[in-house]
Amino acid sequence: MSDKPELVIVSLYPRDMNIYGDRGNILSLTRRASAHGYEPRVIDLNVGDELPEHIDIVIGGGGQDSGQARVAADLAGRAGQFRELADAGTPMLVICGLYQLFGHRFVTASGATLEGIGVLDVETRGGAERMIGNVVVESADFGEIIGYENHSGFTVLGEASEPLGRVTQGAGNNPDDGTEGARTGNVIGSYLHGSLLPKNPAISDFLIETAALRRYGSFEPVASVDPTVERARASAKRRPR
């Protein structure tokens, strides 16, 4: 047993929702948490599994439409639990498919409706066109966010959610309003995979700091800037859409 303070990270539906690199977010978050002096403990939550008693951070990714339907049904049964966790300030990061399901609903391109759990004030419609390519987002909270998007969901924000940032390259939530992602309290939704966290440690730090403050009442950042991260960010930013 390590004497470092632990952080319990719940990885949502890794079996169905890990279509493209979302595993990297868990890998990166746990590395960053260790670098800050914590002992991360990752608990996978798949369809039918029981939620652990204590949760410090929740993180989830994207899947295919078929996996998303299975997950939507399971998630609906836990909507109350997740809303409670969110209201209590638990930091969460949900990407793509789970971003959509953390909103009110997702109406697929074929017209079927997947009910979401309404933690984020967003609604999504499946569109005919996919929004694909390198993305750069300006965020007041996290500075410049760099990633990659690949989705056909067309998401619109309501008043209770702020956008994560403004797109300076790419589509983001939809092709029209220039916003990317959504944030309500400590819950962040985004279309950026790529994976998001390895190249955007500011978001990892936010999740870790918020979790540490809630659980231990203090947070002393220890991890430093990683030169490889800086180079990867600069290089990805130069790539054409």
């Binding site: 890990n18 690199g21 798949n46 790529g194 490889t228």
Partner: protein, 447 residues
């Protein structure tokens, strides 16, 4: 007469394009515009018709295996070996192989078809035989979802007239086989044949369904338990893997053969090629062709097939072997890492994100690089070199140097790894770029 004119125009465009150092598909594009029926007419005349090879991984090498095995049985085979697997590439190749009268002289065509462009192709030509290899996560920036790719492959299966060959161990492909079998039972649909793996080998070939498996933990949990494997025999089953050798179960009998091919996936795809060749030769014999379908002869031909360019291709540089291993998606990279022993070999990784590579590099996070930890990676290069370096850092793999420019990276890799065997894992356009530079300093087979 039409064929004559189209072929003549195509040959003229090809000559002109070559003078200007132009691309191989241009004559195909021109003829396709002038004479949209050229390809269908030419291919329809072939006595054994068209064999289509599709799937996300391994098309080029598998197509090469089928071609060489059929040629060894005395058949004249037309193929699109430049790897230009769009229809204009097929048309361009047809122009090159046609007689002055515009006639394509061959018994059969073996065509590698890109999943999406195959839709255009099958509207014009129905394959008699189709081989579906796999549906792995690849090029999701083009197709969006793996289910979309599977639907494309289903439509190729639906267009097939005689025999559909499917991978029994790939869930989505096996389902296409099941649906086709149901259709055949109802009176319309091709015969379905399978290639498969012995239960003991299932865990060696993790599919996308196994991706949730935690790093370090054995993959293949979702695979069939050998003790309860009640499935019937596949037409050809890969029983055992050796170093440059394999054992296949064919008609209840085990056949061992040496192979020039390396890599687990190439060996499994050899089983796929064997099923296809057996089906074609059986039909050929039934239709009176002067050939045989003896397993030993077919295996002998297989044993001499060398990998297609860049797919486990072996070169020599500074008196040491240099291997090029093409990696395009997580399953392919995982198999590439598992297929080649990391010990004692200098390693370079070259990752580009051009269209032909797939623009989205997120999949690198789905590959486990721990096997490279002990030896490290000497050089990382390509347009996404820093993403690759960051990925390796997350698996605690030491990296010697990072240099985005392929040429500079190759020079420093060469200088720093003198006297050691070398291996380069590379994406498609990085492979083409490196081959071009390598051809200036050592022997590289022309393509």
């Amino acid at each position: 007469m039409r064929d004559f004119f189209s072929a003549a125009v195509g040959k003229a465009v090809r000559a002109a394009a070559r003078l200007r150092g132009g691309g191989s598909a241009l004559p195909g594009l021109v003829v396709e515009r002038l004479d949209p029926g050229f390809m269908a007419r030419g291919l329809a005349r072939l006595p054994l018709g068209v064999i289509a090879v599709s799937g996300t991984n391994g098309k080029t090498t598998t197509t090469k295996m089928i071609v060489e095995m059929l040629e060894a049985q005395g058949l004249t085979v037309f193929t699109n070996k430049t790897g230009s697997n769009f229809s204009r590439g097929v048309v361009a190749a047809m122009i090159g192989e046609s007689t002055a009268a515009g006639k394509l002289q061959a018994d059969v065509a073996v065509l590698e078809l890109d999943e999406a462009h195959a839709m255009f192709f099958i509207e014009r030509v129905k394959p008699r035989f189709t081989l579906l290899l796999n549906v792995l996560r690849d090029q999701l920036d083009r197709f969006g979802e793996i289910d979309t790719t599977a639907r494309y492959l289903q439509r190729i299966a639906d267009a097939t007239t005689d025999v559909l060959v499917v991978n029994r161990e790939d869930r989505l492909i096996a389902e296409i086989g099941d649906r086709t079998r149901e259709r055949a039972a109802a009176g319309s649909g091709p015969e379905v044949r399978e290639f498969g793996l012995a239960p003991a080998l299932l865990s060696t070939f993790p599919g996308d369904d196994d991706f949730h498996v935690v790093p370090g933990q054995a993959a293949g949990d979702a695979a069939t338990d050998p003790a309860t494997d009640t499935r019937g025999a596949a037409d050809v089953t890969l029983l055992e893997l050796g170093k440059n050798a394999a054992t296949f179960l064919i008609d209840g009998e085990a056949h061992s053969t040496p192979l020039q091919l390396e890599g687990l996936y190439n060996t499994y795809n050899a089983a796929a090629a064997l099923v296809t060749v057996r089906a074609v030769l059986e039909r050929a014999v039934a239709e009176g062709a002067d050939t045989s379908a003896r397993t030993t002869e077919v295996l002998e031909a297989l044993s001499t097939v060398r990998p297609a360019f860049g797919r486990g291709e072996k070169l020599e540089l500074d008196g040491q072997p240099l291997e090029l291993v093409l990696v395009k998606n997580p399953a392919g990279f995982r198999l590439g890492l598992a297929s080649f022993d990391a010990e004692g070999v200098a390693v370079m990784i070259a990752v580009n994100d051009q269209y032909a590579d797939g623009r989205d590099m997120s999949w690198l996070w789905d590959v486990d690089f721990e096997t490279l930890r002990a030896g490290g990676v000497d050089t990382v290069t390509g347009t996404r070199a820093w993403d690759m370096a960051l990925r390796l850092e997350h698996d605690d793999v030491p990296v010697g140097s990072v240099e985005e420019d392929l040429g500079a990276a190759l020079s420093s890799f060469r200088a720093q790894t003198q006297g050691r065997p070398r291996r380069i894992y590379c994406t498609y356009t990085a492979m083409l770029g490196l081959r071009k530079r390598l051809s200036e300093i050592t022997d590289v087979e022309e393509i």
